[in-house]
Structure formats: C-alpha cells, structure tokens
C-alpha cells in the first residue's frame, strides 16, 4: 500500500526501534496500535518453553491493532528484526489519525474484516467432530487462501505437522496418525518443512460430501 505520510504525522506519532528490540510482550496490557513504515517485525507466541513465529510483518502492515478499542492483554510478542520506523497510536489519538489519514483507518477495517473471516473459518474446522475430516478441512482452508486454488490440482503448503495439529485442534499423535494414513494412500507427501497435497479436489469432495450428511 503506497501512502505518503505528511511530516507532521511522522513527527507526532513516529517511533523507532533497533534491530532485535522488543516492542511488547505477550500477556502484558497494551493500548497502542502500530503501523510499520519501514523495517520488519516478528510476531511470536510462547507455548510452554518454546516460541513459535506466527508472522513477519513489513512496511504497510499493522500490529497490536486489537488494542485500539479497548485495553487488552497482548496476544503475542512483537520484536523488531531490522531497524523499524513505525507510527504508534492509541484510541485517544486514533481519531486524530483518522482525520488526517482516513485511508489508514480504512485499511485497518479491511484487516479486521479479513481476520473475522479467517477466525470463523478456523472455528468451522474446530467444530467438526470427525478427526480425519478436521485434517482434510485444514488443507482445504489453506488452499482457499491460495489465489491459484481452483486451477491447480496439486498444492504445496509450507507447514509442519505441528501447524496442522494446531489448526485442527487435535493432539499431535492423532494428527500424525491421520496424515500418515493419507501418505500411505498416496494422497499426501510430507517433507520436513512442507506438505504436498496431490489432488486438492479430492479433499474438497470429501468435505462437501460429509457436510451434506451433517445437514
């Protein structure tokens, strides 16, 4: 998104972070939202003793935006992985920002809107009772996000077994069992960092058929 920001805005709301500086940590209260102008920010979640990178954000992205309406506990940690220039605003000065840059505010509403859909889609998977169907629907959900979906039969996803377990809401052992079953059937190929679905339409048919039975 190309956006020329006026100098006054930068002066008033601009903040800088050094490489590897922590911006906020998971579970602390916060009421600021950030918009990246330059640099990259890593978003990580702590699970037990391990940390998981959820995303890497760059210029044009928002983060910490859930805090914009209400003070909330941060749902993840944000760490600068390059020198970062960002705009920082709270709900108090958000109105000011809106008047000056309504396009930014509009972009934010688009992001929320997309996220609602993603979360609802995720909930749909969690509410499926059949474990095998859950895993199948995870792959279907991932393929729906790919713009080439509908034209390709074989799809490649850069995900791990843990990712699939997390999306499906199944324990890792159950997930492994189901995926190995698909591997034996020749439907999936797995590598350390990615999985290849041989025929996504197969999976799509499986899910639709089962959904029809449930209605």
């Amino acid at each position: 998104m190309t956006l020329t920001l006026p100098a006054t805005l930068l002066e008033r709301f601009g903040v800088n972070f050094e490489n590897n500086e922590i911006i906020f940590c998971e579970h602390e209260p916060g009421n600021e939202c950030y918009f990246i102008q330059e640099g990259k920010v890593k978003v990580i979640k702590t699970v037990g003793n391990t940390q998981k990178t959820l995303d890497v954000l760059e210029a044009g992205d928002f983060f910490g935006e859930m805090a914009i309406l209400e003070e909330e506990l941060r749902s993840a940690s944000a760490i600068a992985i390059e020198k970062v220039k960002a705009l920082k605003f709270t709900r108090q000065n958000f109105d000011l920002l809106m008047q000056s840059q309504p396009q930014l505010a509009y972009q934010l509403s688009l992001i929320f809107s997309r996220r609602i859909f993603d979360a609802k889609r995720r909930l749909q998977i969690l509410l499926l009772e059949d474990p095998q169907l859950k895993v199948t629907d995870v792959f279907l959900m991932l393929s729906e996000k790919d713009p080439r979906y509908g034209r390709l039969s074989e799809m490649v996803f850069n995900i791990t077994m843990e990712d699939v377990a997390s999306w499906s809401g199944l324990p890792i052992t159950d997930t492994q069992r189901i995926i190995n079953h698909f591997v034996r059937q020749g439907k999936i190929e797995i590598f350390t960092d990615r999985m290849i679905i041989k025929n996504i339409n197969d999976f799509s048919r499986l899910v639709s058929a089962k959904r029809k039975n449930m209605m």
Partner: protein, 352 residues
C-alpha cells in the same frame, strides 16, 4: 456514483457463499439476513434497518458472504461497488470508526469462541502467563527480552505471589547468567489456586478414606476400582490420548457406585473432564448433554458453576445468543465471586 436498485418481495440480493463485491444500504423497505451453518440446526435471521449498511464484511475482505440477503417486501437499496464504497467511507470517517468498532467486537468474540475450544478446561492466569513468557525468553538466551518481560510482570503484579522469583531471575539475566536449570516451577497465582485445589481434591484419594467412610470389604474393592479407572482416565487426558480418556472417564461418570464422599468427588470430576474433552473434540451436542446431566445429578456439585459456564459457551458456539446470555447471567450472580464470575461477566458484556 452508486446505483439505486429495486427488489421485489422475496428477491435475493446475494446468497450465502457468493463472493462479495458490493456494499448495500437499505433505503426503503425490509431486508433480512439469513444464515445457516452445517453444525447449527436453525436458521438465524436478522433484520436490516433503513439506513443501515449490509454486505460490507464480505466485500471489504473479499471473501464469501456469510449470510443470504433477501428482500422481505418491495425494497430499494443503494449499491456501492467496493472502490466507490472506499471513496465514500473516506469522506465520512465516522462510518469507518463505526466499522472498526463493529469489526473489532466481532473479531474479539470469534477469537473467544476459538479459545473456548482450544483451551477448554484450562483456566489460565494472566500473571502466571506473563511470568512464563519472561522465563521462556530467558531459557532461549534472549536476555534483553527476558528482562523487559520480568519488568512488566513486576510492574503489573506488585503483590504477585512470584514477585521474589521474578526479581531474582531478572537479576541473574542482567548478570548474563544462563537460566538456572534446577529452579522449581512458579507458584500458581491468586484465587485460581484455590479453585484448582477444590477440583483437584477429588484426585487426592487416599486408601485411608475408605476406612473413614466405614465401607465393607466389597465396597472398598469397588471404590479402589473406581479410583484406578479415574486415575488412568486423567493420565490419558494429560497425555492427550483423548479417545482413551473419554472412554475411561465416561465409565467413571456412569458408575453406579458413588457411596463415599471421595467417590462422589471422583464421579463429579470425571463428568466435568468428560464434558471438556467432548468440547475440545468439537462434539458440542455430547458436551452439552454431559454438562446438563451433571447439573441434574449434582445440583449442589463442586463443578456446578463451571458446568453452567461451559453450557453458556456451547450455546454461544451454536449461535443461540439469547440462551447463552441467560447462562452467563446465571453464573455471574452465583457466589462466591471468583475467576468464573469474572469470565462470565466478560462474556456477557461482549454479547451485548
């Protein structure tokens, strides 16, 4: 320039599943939004008021419409293409603010629903979680980040049970020392600790209780059998073997034998755990039945409040907002005022 379109009674403006591309405002007439989902048994209908926008979410996010929009009587509707809508919104920033407020609320709600299933039964405490984040940074040799997080823990938890621990670890991190591997785990924080022990007490079974309850040899044997199944069920649950845990805990819950006090606690706890596993597996109907049965059998039970809360959660997941609110209000007024009360109040607020 936006168009004005007229629809006859019964006409469909868009179907659930159609890709969004236009935003609509009801100028005159009546429009209803109808949504159905495979796992919900009813249709949910919502009226659009004159002057209200609809079809926004899908068009902005470029995803399929989550509901069907139908004209309930002859209606006229202003139609914006996505780009036109953007122009309009930018000139009317109060609209953007309204959208952000609405979307933010919806997003929070659906995240909460996702967490209800993923984290079912795990009442987490924010202070402890924050401490854990600090210690995780420390363990991963990210000292600066650890110090930042320890500072935050101390700032927001001046009376925290683990205050001293946080200070000690922070000091060690500042000195550049590696995380002390022999450190014991942190203490549970606040009233949550009391909650857990009351539920966990059912698990602290000792052979001597059988004697204290004056049971016969036959009854003692049954009691032991029940406890063994219960412990095995708990272990299976802890190692994520859901199928086995479900089977064993169901056996416990259905056990006709619950004469002694300790045995009674076991059966109660088994019921609650069974419901939680079913919820985690997405088996909403089964989970609802389990929690309802529990409440019927144990109207003064230890898990009454939590079971009612979970029934509220399940009802909310099914889309019956009115019923969900009624469960949450009921829980919110039950004494004592604890974490469960807080949780139910939060959920009630988010539904209004």
């Amino acid at each position: 320039m936006p168009n004005i379109r007229k629809y006859n009674k019964g006409s469909i403006i868009y179907f659930q599943g159609d890709i969004g591309g236009e935003v609509y405002v009801l100028q005159k007439g009546d429009v209803i939004l109808i949504s159905t989902e495979p796992y919900k048994n009813e249709e949910i209908k919502e009226r659009v008021n004159v002057g209200e926008f609809f079809g926004m979410g899908a068009t902005l996010g470029r995803y399929p419409h989550a509901e069907t929009a139908q004209a309930a009587s002859e209606s006229s509707v202003v139609v914006f293409k996505a780009a036109e809508f953007e122009q309009y919104a930018i000139k009317n920033t109060h609209l953007i603010m309204k959208m952000i407020r609405l979307f933010s609320k919806k997003l929070r709600n659906v995240h909460r629903q996702v967490r209800s299933i993923l984290n079912a039964g795990e009442e987490k405490n924010a202070a402890l979680e924050l401490l854990n984040v600090a210690e995780a940074f420390y363990r991963n040799h990210q000292l600066e980040h650890a110090i930042y997080a320890f500072n935050r823990y101390l700032e927001y938890n001046p009376e925290g049970v683990n205050r001293q621990r946080a200070q000690e670890l922070r000091q060690q991190a500042k000195e550049g020392r590696t995380f002390p591997s022999s450190y014991p785990p942190p203490e549970p924080e606040s009233s949550l600790a009391n909650l857990k022990t009351s539920a966990g007490a059912a698990g602290e079974v000792q052979g001597s209780n059988a004697a204290a309850d004056n049971l016969s040899a036959e009854q003692r044997k049954k009691s032991l059998a029940l406890r063994e199944i219960y412990e095995a069920g708990k272990n299976a649950q802890n190692s994520s073997d859901q199928q086995t845990a479900l089977r064993l805990l169901t056996q416990c819950a259905n056990s006709a034998y619950a004469i002694g006090r300790e045995e009674n606690k076991i059966v109660q706890d088994a019921y609650y755990r069974k419901g939680i596993i079913e919820l985690k597996m997405g088996k909403l109907t089964n989970a609802a039945t389990t929690f309802s049965e529990y409440i019927k059998q144990f109207p003064d039970g230890l898990e009454l409040k939590r079971s009612l809360l979970q029934l509220g959660v399940i009802t909310e997941l099914r889309g019956d907002i009115k019923q969900a609110k009624s469960f949450y209000s009921r829980v919110a007024t039950m004494l004592p005022h604890d974490e469960i009360t807080k949780e139910s109040r939060k959920r009630l607020e988010s539904l209004t």
